[in-house]
């Protein structure tokens, strides 16, 4: 079905966004690619979905594109293209408020907003996503994926991931 021809621009946009809201991030399935800010928008010309990588070398980028492709195809929108853009660069400020809460519930401390340009040392207090304690400590600046760092809680003693400011 030629979705682009059959629907008005707004209807097409709504329909694509509804489909993408159900596509989970492959590494952090608790949040969708829309909530993470990977989906930058919908271009009705084409039509195409515009996405942006979180990290230049993130191996999940290909998996994300494939997952979006499958979701669009299954929703009868095989004619909707996927276009990747770099600019403006993705930042953790693009993660939605709902996405931040889902990260926390999943056990990942979300990044503070507006922190992008701040010191990498992170003067902010990082709350343990499990017990809420502010007594936490960085274990390693790099974690299991490019976007996360390893932390631990001094009160509940649980290790946790922190989404890096970026």
């Amino acid at each position: 079905m030629a979705a682009g021809a059959a629907l008005s621009e707004q209807a097409l946009r709504d329909r694509i966004e509804t489909v993408l809201a159900e596509v989970p991030d492959p590494e952090i399935p608790a949040v969708s690619v829309v909530e993470l800010g990977i989906v930058r928008g919908v271009d009705p010309e084409g039509p195409s979905v515009i996405i942006t990588p979180t990290y230049t070398g993130c191996p999940a980028t290909i998996a994300i594109e494939m997952a979006i492709r499958v979701a669009l195809d299954e929703a009868g929108m095989a004619d909707v293209a996927i276009r990747t853009v770099l600019s403006p660069p993705w930042s953790t400020d693009m993660i939605s408020d709902a996405g931040r809460e889902k990260l926390r519930a999943y056990g990942i401390a979300p990044p503070p907003k507006g922190a992008e340009a701040r010191s990498l040392r992170g003067a902010d207090i990082v709350e343990c996503p499990r017990c809420g304690s502010p007594h936490t400590q960085e274990v390693s600046r790099f974690g299991s994926t490019p976007c996360k760092a390893l932390w631990k809680c001094a009160d509940c003693h649980e290790p946790f991931d922190r989404f890096k400011c970026h």
């Binding site: 990588p53 990290y55 230049t56 070398g57 993130c58 191996p59 770099l86 600019s87 403006p88 660069p89 993705w90 930042s91 992008e116 990498l120 274990v139 390693s140 600046r141 790099f142 974690g143 299991s144 490019p146 390893l150 890096k164 970026h166």
Partner: protein, 250 residues
């Protein structure tokens, strides 16, 4: 002019590609699992940069070569990386000395390239510079921790840096052909970054209680494709699979 732009993009992409390969040699062998993850993550970021710069280089060249083709089907003398990144890992101290020197250089370079008049270069730099800040930070941390550590860790950092001082001019080298692209604001004049680089290196060395850099005889012309023997060995490992199965897709 496009051949000079092509070659300049190879310099940017090859620096990242070759250092990524070196860092990933640590995978499974680093002093701790956290350090193992860090080095692989650094390598991954650099691999991402290499893919973007080499991809653009292939487009500029216009002969149908993509990033993979450029990475896996060129010989050593066609690589334009600086000599520093192709040097063997040595011990962890030597690896961190190399990483600190390169990341400090690359951070200054990318901060400049964010303002490139070539929009493709500018957007790749804007993306990558945020990652490189972490690289410069973590490597400076380790230089300080090891330099200002035990007698042995201090000596290993001294020895690590000693090997690399000879490659600094090569990293900053600009040739006359690139002058026009620098004047147009496409490229950054690397020579102009040198004072800030020297100052930052001196600052971290002092904090690490390490001796200041001593002027030594400078070697090499990596940007002209004249490499140390180490690059061929590295490429032998990196390129073996795609060269053995050139039509394979995975």
């Amino acid at each position: 002019m496009s051949d000079i732009l092509f070659r300049s993009l190879l310099e940017l992409g090859d620096d990242s590609l070759i250092l990524a390969q070196r860092l990933c040699e640590w995978c499974g062998q680093a002093p701790s699992v956290e350090v193992d993850l860090s080095l692989s993550n650094l390598g991954l970021d650099l691999m991402g940069q290499a893919t973007l710069f080499l991809g653009y280089a292939g487009e500029v060249e216009g002969k149908g070569r993509d990033a993979d083709r450029l990475a896996f089907h060129r010989d050593a003398e066609q690589f334009r990386n600086c000599l520093l990144v192709e040097q063997p890992n040595g011990d962890f101290g030597q690896t961190m000395a190399r990483q600190f020197l390169f990341s400090t250089y690359q951070l200054a370079l990318f901060e400049g390239l964010v303002g490139s008049t070539d929009p493709r270069i500018a957007e790749i730099a804007a993306k990558a510079v945020k990652e490189v800040r972490y690289h410069a930070d973590i490597s400076a941390d380790w230089v300080i921790r090891l330099g200002d550590g035990t007698e042995e860790s201090h000596q290993r950092m001294v020895d690590g840096f000693d090997w690399f001082w000879r490659f600094i001019d090569d990293m900053f080298a600009v040739d006359a052909d690139q002058r026009a692209l620098i004047d147009q604001g496409v490229l950054v004049d690397r020579a102009a970054l040198r004072p800030a680089f020297d100052a930052r290196v001196a600052e971290v060395l002092a904090e690490a209680t390490l001796p200041a850099a001593e002027p030594v005889w400078q070697v090499g012309a990596g940007r002209e494709g004249r490499h140390t023997e180490h690059l061929s060995h590295l490429l032998g490992v990196m390129q073996q699979l795609p060269r053995a199965h050139p039509e394979a897709a995975w």
